[in-house]
Structures are given as structure tokens and as C-alpha cells.
């Protein structure tokens, strides 16, 4: 066992872990941070994406001991005080999720993408989230969501959050078809 100190979603933890423990297993099994999920074991799907010291990592490819002394942000801590990050809100508003399993990782990767490129084109979004797989949506609404969040974040600044409640009003970009 090795002792690590790690700050996760604003809380500092000191824990003993086996050297082989993956960050995602530490998050899920020792900290109960089950918002971050495991999809593939081979770093292809990105479902386990979190931020480590501000950059997106696939937490199935990082050992817990590598996060020692680091700061981890998961989907559960993305928006402070239980609010919604503009990216979370945009995924909802643009219907960028169906089953929702890839969503935490997809959101964390997309937030990281906007740090590199605050105004990505359609193809830049597609290339930028290539490391995250979604089986439900066909990605089109995810691309819309990332671009919408980009727009909102450019106007409001990165620290902007919305109330936690999701608005189920009709989506203005989709016409009623009756």
C-alpha cells in the first residue's frame, strides 16, 4: 500500500492505495465518486474522463499514485455549489445525451477542448472529442451542445454556472412537426 494525498472536487483525501490501483477505481470504490464511470478498459471510450490538475485525462489510464499531490475534478465537482456548468446545461438543451453513460466523460473532455479552442468549428469539435465514444446520439447533438456552450462561455466567462434545475421547456431549435 502507498499513501496518497489528493484533492478531489474540492475535498482533500489521504488514503492508502495499492500501487496498481487505477485512478478511476480509487474515485469510484474508495471515494464513492460513481459519477465517473468505466466503459472500456483500453482508453478508447473516454467514459472515465476527469480533469487532473486542469487537464482532461482518462482515469482508467492513470494510476491513483500518479494523482498524489494533485487536484482532480470529476463531473460531480465541475460546477461549484451544485449548479450546472454551461457545458452540462448545453448537453441538456441540445439533447446531447440519450442513455447518458458516456456523458460525464464527454462533458469533461468537451470542457477541456474549449480551453484549447474557445470557438471550435463543427469539424474541430468532432476531432476534439474523437477520444470519447457515444453509442446513442450519432454525435450531432453533442457537437451542437459543445458549440452552444462555447458561445455561452465566451460571453459569460468560464466560471459561469447556472442553477442546478434543468429547464424542460421546448427546445427552440427544433420545430414542432405536427
Amino acid at each position: 500500500m502507498t499513501q496518497i494525498n489528493v484533492r478531489v472536487d474540492g475535498v482533500t483525501y489521504t488514503d492508502d492505495v495499492e500501487p496498481r490501483t487505477l485512478l478511476v477505481h480509487y474515485l469510484r470504490e474508495q471515494l464513492g465518486k460513481v459519477g465517473t464511470v468505466i466503459g472500456c478498459d483500453t482508453s478508447n471510450c473516454g467514459a472515465c474522463t476527469v480533469h487532473l490538475d486542469g487537464a482532461a485525462v482518462k482515469s482508467c489510464t492513470v494510476l491513483a499514485v500518479q494523482a498524489d499531490g494533485g487536484e482532480v475534478t470529476t463531473i460531480e465537482g465541475l460546477a461549484p455549489n451544485g449548479g450546472l456548468h454551461p457545458m452540462q446545461k448545453a448537453f441538456h438543451e441540445m439533447h446531447g445525451l440519450q442513455c447518458g453513460y458516456c456523458t460525464p466523460g464527454m462533458i469533461m473532455a468537451s470542457v477541456d477542448l474549449l480551453k484549447e479552442n474557445p470557438d471550435p468549428s463543427d469539424s474541430e469539435v468532432r476531432e476534439g472529442i474523437e477520444g470519447n465514444l457515444c453509442r446513442c446520439t450519432g454525435y450531432q447533438n453533442i457537437v451542437r451542445a459543445v458549440q452552444q456552450a462555447a458561445g455561452e462561455m465566451r460571453t459569460a466567462g468560464n466560471g459561469h454556472t447556472s442553477p442546478a434545475e434543468v429547464d424542460t421547456a421546448a427546445a427552440p431549435h427544433v420545430a414542432a412537426q405536427q
Binding site: 495499492e18 469510484r28 470504490e29 460513481v34 459519477g35 465517473t36 464511470v37 468505466i38 466503459g39 472500456c40 478498459d41 483500453t42 478508447n44 471510450c45 467514459a47 463531473i75 460531480e76 450546472l84 452540462q88 446545461k89 448537453f91 441538456h92 439533447h95 445525451l97 440519450q98 442513455c99 447518458g100 453513460y101 458516456c102 456523458t103 462533458i107 469539424s123 469539435v125 468532432r126 476531432e127 472529442i129 474523437e130 470519447n132 465514444l133 457515444c134 453509442r135 446513442c136 446520439t137 450519432g138 454525435y139 450531432q140 447533438n141 453533442i142 457537437v143 442546478a164 434545475e165 434543468v166 424542460t168 421546448a170 427546445a171 427544433v174 420545430a175 414542432a176 412537426q177 405536427q178
Partner: protein, 830 residues
């Protein structure tokens, strides 16, 4: 209780048709979900499964002693240990009376029949301890030859998948329109035909590849058991587990919490679910099993895998005269829940939207030493649609006709609905011409054809092709009577309950079990309209057999069409009961009451009104209730459809093919789908997008590949190519609306349309790009190597790359199976 002011009655805004954003999202975008693997119970033990590394062999010995002594291990169970209690994984669809079912133990006892089959299970205090101990189980196998190729499997003297069976054939199913009285004599039609085109199409094996790996948790409580499972079918699972294990049905509760996708892949009763229940029963402790991605790809059921021999007969003017289909359908090593039913469903769809006067369908279900196949998005209809939409293009080439003109000449015209097809199906409604016109405009067909001509004339290395698929499918599984006539083991109804709570809130209980489709939102819209209560006041409950005791779950684009119809009917019953209470409260005759916007009002008496939510409270109190009426306005409904519904549409793909590299790339994709009444356009569009992604993936990316020893060489997402955002194009989608007459909503079903329609449009487009260069077929998926080989070496591009995959077949031969074959020596794949 009566309202004080008199307001003019205006029609309330309808919820149905609104692009409501989903209620489900709040928990999903914040990571506050209930995936099965999130669950932790006190004293919970963890399972890991020891799996066969060989495709076919006798188990001659299992030594579990080292595993049993490993740290943290509580127990190790082999097939022998549970042989008396594990029963057989059920097959609910004996498609013919003489169908051969070899039986399917959850843990192999004497013999293994595919790589990945369970041979033992480790029970340990942690998941890591269980997985560590897997390595310590020593199993001896006497190797038997592996059957991997369907055409070889049906040849005389073939090796056997199961040596206790007489052949590799499970069943031979025939539908003959002449014999059924729905069409003319097929042989005569072909004998008389001026033109016959015959093709062999390969539907490669696919893997559903839902994003959430399967997971099961079982908690024993005395002689009761609760199972949480990442399943599409908690209701079916409960019944089947009771039948298989002998745990009485009323002692078993099954819960499907949040489920991360299914696509048919979680429409199953799995060995791991049975094993988890058996272990929990034996040890009296809660247990959890969660698979790795490799386990999922290797052992969760696969889909498609057919070889199709298709003949079409026509006259020189392009009038089709007959269709003949002979299908080999790979069942894999065992029959699972509906394995045989998948190709048989297709039997009623190969004729597509065309007026074939004669039709014959024959299908052989074949055993091979591979993972069992079963439902995957579309289940039988994508295979059928691919065959007919591909052969129509081939016939057009033969007749030197425009493929759209040929289709138009033969499709059912709008005024001919309802139309009884040569397969005996009554197509409910639609208009193929209008959908096609809209799709042509959406994609900019004429400009694309002009560009195609320019590229051909200039001999551009990048050629452009345009492919069309004008499809229909049967949805809304299913009329119980029809399922009975096809020997399916259950009905196709769906159930719903509506509970009116004292505070005016509404609980809707649905037997349909979503895993991403948005039932909670759409059902709320349906009920809001019928009861006139606010969308926000409605909660939809599902997926737990103790909350939703009756249901047949979600698959086959049935939820809205069948389950939504049950919800609507239950709401109508609530209104009828509430009307009686309202009449009593308002001291009026029921006949004098109007119901609109959630309020009963007395016609001609301004101000005399009461809301249904107020009636819910009055019912709770039951102080002043109609004589002889029980104090409840709750209602149940079970809806059994009379007929399937038949969505249709036109999909058009424009494809660029680089003739120098073989790279195929979708330039534009447009589709117009008619799915009947649209309850929520946002959700419908999302379903179409996701369906397209999977249909395009079959055409271009995905294939489950086995090497010559029967090892799955696409056992991780490194090798099994689920497309990313960068691999897929933008989709332009549209709709026409022809209501389905068979249900009170008018909806036809949308879950599978995109998948069913898109695959042939993509392949037709690729062929249209390069046909003038002498290519008449390219096997799916259209990898650059295959396209290049078809262009430069002729043929259909052949099997998958001779270099295999990262898990190269030749390199594995000596170590895993110890048997070298000509194919394995070359590293060839099957």
C-alpha cells in the same frame, strides 16, 4: 371546490408535438445516476468469471485449489458444482416445431463451444481479488475442431459444433407466398421472367457495444431475492429466471436502474445473471458481477451474421415479378432468448415497399463455435432491407435504369394503403413518393448528380456516388396473436397504470423499460394532454418489477406504439372515473360535463367546474363519493395491438471514394422518415441520428472478426471500431407524418428506423461511385483496404485484411489451440 370566476374556455396548448427537453437529463449530466455497478451493499461479494480460451473442446479436468486458497477468495464454483440447479439459458422462440436446441448451461459442464464461455466463477471479497484468482484456475481441454464458417458448416461431412447433434442446422424456416395464399407461385414467376439477377450478400457479424458494460447485483433476503441488472427486460428476466433456477417468481424482484444503452444487446437472459443468482442463493450473501469491455465484446450476444442468396425476377420494362431469398443465419454456439426469431422476423420484410407478385423465403439457422447471436438494433429488418435495397440497385444496373425510377415503378402508391404485402403484412399508411421528393431536395440531388458527372468525365481520383434506400419496417412488437402464430413464447402487449396522488400529482407506471429513449419525458407529454395536468406534475416510474408488476419491456421500437398506447388508455380510464366523481360533486349529469384543460365543467352553467387534480384529493378523502363507486380514480390498461405499424422513409447518401487509397467518406447524408405522429421532435431526431450512426457503422466500420481458431480478434475497442464523432457526417433529417391507425397516439416507432434504412444507402452510394470502374460489390464494412482491393484486384474486396488485426490469428495459433490450419498459418480471419 368550484371555481370562482368564469373564464372563457380556450384549447390548452398541446404537449404532444412539443420538443420538450428531457426530464431524465438532470441526473445524467451531473453524475448522480444509479448504474448497477454503482451499487454497494453491506457484505457484498464480487464475482469474476473464468472463461474458455478455446472455441471447442471437452473439459477433462478443472483444478481450482490454487484459486480457492488465494487471498480474499470465498468460493470457486465450476459447472459441475451447479449442474443440478443451473438449468439452461432459455430460448423463447422455437421458430419451427423441430428446431434443434442443444441446451445452454450458464457454466459449461463437460464441453465448451465458444471462446469466452464460462467454465468457473470466482467469489471473492473484492473485485481485484476475484480477478486475480481467475488466473489460478487450471482447466484441461481436449480440443475439438471448431466450426466457424456457415457455408462449410452446411456442407456434407462438415465438422460439428455440438458433437451430440446430427448436424449444424438448428432449424429450416420457410415462408412461401404461394403456399400462404399471399402471392403467386415463385418458381413459376422465375421460370417466366425475362430478367433474373442473383447476388450473394454478407451481413457481417456485429456487436451491439452498448457503452455501459453489463452488471448484476443480487441481494438475498431470506428466501426472497432482489436482482439489479443492466438489462432492457426486467420483466422478462424475472419470469425466465424463475423458470430456469426454480426461485419462485413471487420471491424474485428484478430492477433495471439507469441502464447505459442496450440496442438489443441487453434483451437477454444472460449466463452471468443466472450465475449471480445461484451464487447469492448458495452463499446467502449479496454479490456483484460487472464485466470488462473485453468480456462484453466476447460474450454478450452478437448481432446480424447472415449469408444471403437473393434472386430477383423482372421483365425488361422493370416490373418486378418475384423475389427469392435463401438465408444462412449464424446462431453461434447456442440459442439465446430470441436468436432464431431474429432472421425469421426478417422473413416478412425482404419484399420491402415493392409489389412483388411472388415471394419465397427460406432460412437455415446454423450453429458455429462462436458467441451466440441475438437481437441487435433492427433485429431481422436491417438484414432484409439491405438485401432488397441492394438487389434493386443491381436490377437497375442490369436493366440500365435509374435506381429511383425502378423503385418508383414498383413501390406501393399512396392511394393503395392499407396494402397487404406478398409476405402477408398489412402496411398501415404512408406516401413513399412524397418522402422521396423531400429527401431529394434535402440532399440537393441534382447538383450532386452533376458533380458526379464532372468527376467521371475528368477522371477525378476521388469519385462521387449517390445511394438510395427507400425502406419500410415493422414496428410496435407486437400483436400477441401474430407472435403466437410464429410460436413466440410470450405476448406482445404492454401495460400501464396511472395513480392520482392526493396532492394532484400523477404517477405513471409503465411496463416499457427505457435505457436512453426518454420515456419519462414522452410519457409525461402524453399524460399531460389526456389529463390536462401540468407536464411537471407527472412522474414516470418503470423498470422495477415491484413498482411496475406487469410489462414486456423495451425493444423492437415498441415502447411508444404499444406502451405509450397503454398509458393513453389508462389515462382515458382515469378521466372516465373522474368524470363520475365530478358529476357527483357538481351535482350534474355526466353527460352534461365537458372535460378540457384538466377541468370538468357543466355545460351551460358558468363557474361550475372542478379540476381532475381536485378530484384526486376528493377521492383520497372519500367523504363525498358517488354511491356504489370504490374510492379510487386510478386505472390500469393493457394494450395489445391489432397490427404492427410500418414506418417508412427515404435515405440518400452521397459518398466520396478515393480510388487511389480506397478511402470512402460520406459527403452528405439526408433522410426523410415517416414515423407517424411525433410526440417529441427532439427525441425523434435524436433517435434517427443514433440509428443512422449504427447503420452507417455496419456499412463502413464494424465487424466482429474471428481468427481461424475461433478467437475473437476484435475483442476491445482498439479493434472493434465503434465510430467516433470524427468518423461520422452531419445528418440532414426531415419527416412526413402519416398517422398509424393502429394505436390511439398515431405513432409508428422510431428506435430502429435509422439503422434499418441507412446501411444499404451507404453501400449503394459507394458502389455508385466506382461501378463504372468495374466494381459490382464490396463487402461490409467498406474499409479502405477492401475498397482498394475491389478497385484494383476485382471481386468484392474479400475477407478482412490478411494481416488480421492487432490480435493476429497466425501468432495465436500454436499457443491457444495448438492446431494449425492453412488459414491460421496465413493469419487469415473468418
Amino acid at each position: 371546490m368550484t371555481a370562482i370566476e368564469d373564464r372563457p374556455t380556450e384549447a390548452p396548448e398541446r404537449e404532444v408535438g412539443k420538443a420538450r427537453r428531457r426530464k431524465e437529463d438532470a441526473r445524467l449530466i451531473t453524475g448522480r445516476t444509479t448504474w448497477t455497478d454503482n451499487m454497494v451493499l453491506p457484505g457484498m461479494l464480487h464475482l469474476a468469471v473464468v472463461r474458455s480460451p478455446v472455441a471447442h473442446g471437452k473439459i477433462t479436468g478443472i483444478d481450482v485449489s490454487a484459486a480457492q486458497e488465494a487471498p480474499g477468495v470465498i468460493a470457486v464454483l465450476t459447472g459441475r458444482d451447479v449442474a443440478e440447479e443451473q438449468g439452461s439459458i432459455p430460448c423463447a422462440w422455437p421458430v419451427t416445431p423441430d428446431m434443434v436446441n442443444p441446451g445452454h448451461p450458464s457454466i459449461a459442464v463437460d464441453e465448451v463451444n465458444h471462446v469466452g464461455e464460462a467454465v468457473a466463477v470466482i467469489v471473492a471479497r473484492s473485485k481485484a481479488a476475484a480477478q486475480d484468482a481467475v488466473e489460478l484456475v487450471d482447466v484441461d481441454y481436449d480440443l475439438l475442431p471448431a466450426v466457424l464458417d456457415m457455408e462449410e458448416a452446411v456442407a456434407d461431412g462438415a465438422q460439428l459444433t455440438h458433437d451430440h447433434l446430427e448436424s449444424n442446422r438448428s432449424f429450416h424456416f420457410v415462408f412461401d407466398g404461394g403456399e400462404a395464399g399471399t402471392g403467386a407461385d415463385t418458381d413459376q414467376a422465375f421460370a417466366d421472367a425475362e430478367v433474373v439477377v442473383s447476388r450473394r450478400f454478407v451481413q457481417q457479424r456485429l456487436i451491439p457495444a452498448f457503452m455501459e458494460p453489463r452488471s448484476v447485483v443480487v441481494q438475498p433476503q431470506g428466501d426472497n431475492y432482489t436482482m439489479w441488472s443492466s438489462t432492457q427486460v426486467p420483466h422478462i428476466l424475472r419470469i425466465m429466471l424463475a423458470m430456469v433456477t426454480g426461485v419462485p417468481e413471487h420471491k424474485l424482484r428484478v430492477v433495471a436502474p439507469d441502464v447505459g444503452g442496450g440496442f438489443g444487446g441487453k434483451l437477454q437472459v444472460t449466463p452471468e445473471e443466472v450465475i449471480s443468482l445461484l451464487v447469492a442463493r448458495r452463499l446467502g450473501k449479496p454479490v456483484k458481477w460487472t464485466e470488462t469491455r473485453s468480456e462484453s465484446l466476447m460474450t454478450a450476444h452478437h448481432g446480424r451474421d447472415q449469408i444471403q442468396y437473393i434472386d430477383v425476377a423482372a421483365d425488361r420494362e422493370g416490373n418486378v415479378k418475384g423475389l427469392r431469398c435463401r438465408i444462412l443465419a449464424d446462431m453461434g454456439a447456442y440459442l439465446r432468448l430470441v436468436s432464431p426469431g431474429v432472421p425469421v422476423l426478417g422473413a416478412f420484410m425482404f419484399n420491402g415497399i415493392y409489389k412483388f407478385p411472388a415471394y419465397r423465403f427460406e432460412c437455415d439457422g446454423i450453429f458455429t463455435n462462436k458467441t451466440p447471436t441475438d437481437a441487435y438494433r433492427g433485429a431481422g429488418r436491417p438484414e432484409a432491407t439491405f438485401a432488397v435495397e441492394r438487389i434493386m440497385d443491381e436490377l437497375a444496373v442490369e436493366l440500365d435504369m435509374d435506381p429511383l425510377e425502378l423503385r418508383r415503378k414498383n413501390w406501393i402508391r399512396a392511394e393503395e394503403f392499407p396494402f397487404t404485402s406478398v409476405a402477408g403484412m398489412t402496411y398501415d399508411s404512408g406516401d413513399y413518393e412524397t418522402a422521396t421528393q423531400k429527401a431529394l431536395e434535402l440532399i440537393g440531388y441534382d447538383e450532386l448528380r452533376a458533380e458526379q458527372r464532372r468527376r467521371r468525365e475528368s477522371d477525378d481520383p476521388v469519385q462521387l456516388g449517390i445511394g438510395v434506400s427507400t425502406f419500410t419496417e415493422m414496428c410496435g412488437l407486437a400483436p400477441s396473436r401474430v407472435l403466437g402464430s410464429l410460436s413466440y413464447g410470450a405476448g406482445g402487449w404492454e401495460h400501464a397504470s396511472i395513480r392520482m396522488l392526493p396532492t394532484g400529482k400523477v404517477e405513471v407506471v409503465s411496463g416499457a423499460t427505457p435505457h436512453g429513449q426518454g420515456h419519462e419525458t414522452a410519457w409525461s407529454q402524453l399524460v399531460a394532454d389526456r389529463l390536462g395536468v401540468p407536464f411537471e406534475d407527472i412522474e414516470v416510474l418503470h423498470g422495477d418489477t415491484s413498482v411496475s408488476p406487469r410489462g414486456l419491456d423495451t425493444y423492437g421500437s415498441r415502447s411508444l406504439v404499444v406502451g405509450g398506447a397503454a398509458v393513453v388508455n389508462a389515462a382515458e380510464k382515469v378521466v372516465a372515473k373522474a368524470r363520475r366523481v365530478a358529476a357527483h360533486v357538481l351535482e350534474a349529469s355526466e353527460d352534461d360535463l365537458d372535460f378540457s384543460g384538466g377541468k370538468f365543467s357543466v355545460r351551460g352553467t358558468p363557474g361550475a367546474e372542478v379540476s381532475i387534480q381536485e378530484i384526486a384529493l376528493a377521492t383520497f378523502a372519500a367523504h363525498n363519493f358517488p354511491e356504489g363507486m370504490e374510492p379510487s380514480i386510478d386505472a390500469d390498461a393493457t394494450f395489445d395491438p391489432e397490427n404492427f405499424s410500418f414506418p417508412h422513409g427515404t435515405h440518400i447518401c452521397a459518398m466520396e471514394v478515393d480510388t487511389e487509397t480506397g478511402m470512402a467518406k460520406i459527403r452528405k447524408y439526408a433522410c426523410v422518415d415517416d414515423v407517424g405522429t411525433i410526440v417529441n421532435p427532439l427525441i425523434v431526431e435524436g433517435q434517427i441520428h443514433g440509428g443512422l450512426a449504427q447503420g452507417i457503422a455496419q456499412a463502413m466500420f464494424e465487424e466482429a472478426v474471428y481468427d481461424a481458431d475461433g478467437n475473437l480478434t476484435t475483442g476491445s475497442f482498439v479493434d472493434y471500431l465503434v465510430p467516433s464523432a470524427a468518423d461520422l457526417p452531419h445528418f440532414d433529417t426531415g419527416n412526413t407524418v402519416h398517422e398509424a391507425p393502429g394505436n390511439p397516439i398515431g405513432a409508428k416507432g422510431v428506435g430502429e428506423a435509422g439503422t434499418i434504412a441507412s446501411t444499404p444507402a451507404v453501400v449503394n452510394a459507394a458502389l455508385d461511385a466506382v461501378r463504372h470502374l468495374g466494381v459490382s460489390d464490396i463487402r461490409m464494412p467498406l474499409t479502405p483496404e477492401r475498397v482498394w482491393r475491389a478497385l484494383h484486384q476485382g471481386g468484392d474486396g474479400g475477407d478482412r485484411a490478411t494481416a488480421g488485426t492487432n490480435a493476429w490469428g497466425g501468432a495465436q495459433t500454436e499457443t491457444t489451440a495448438g492446431v494449425s490450419t492453412p488459414q491460421s498459418a496465413l493469419g487469415g480471419d473468418r
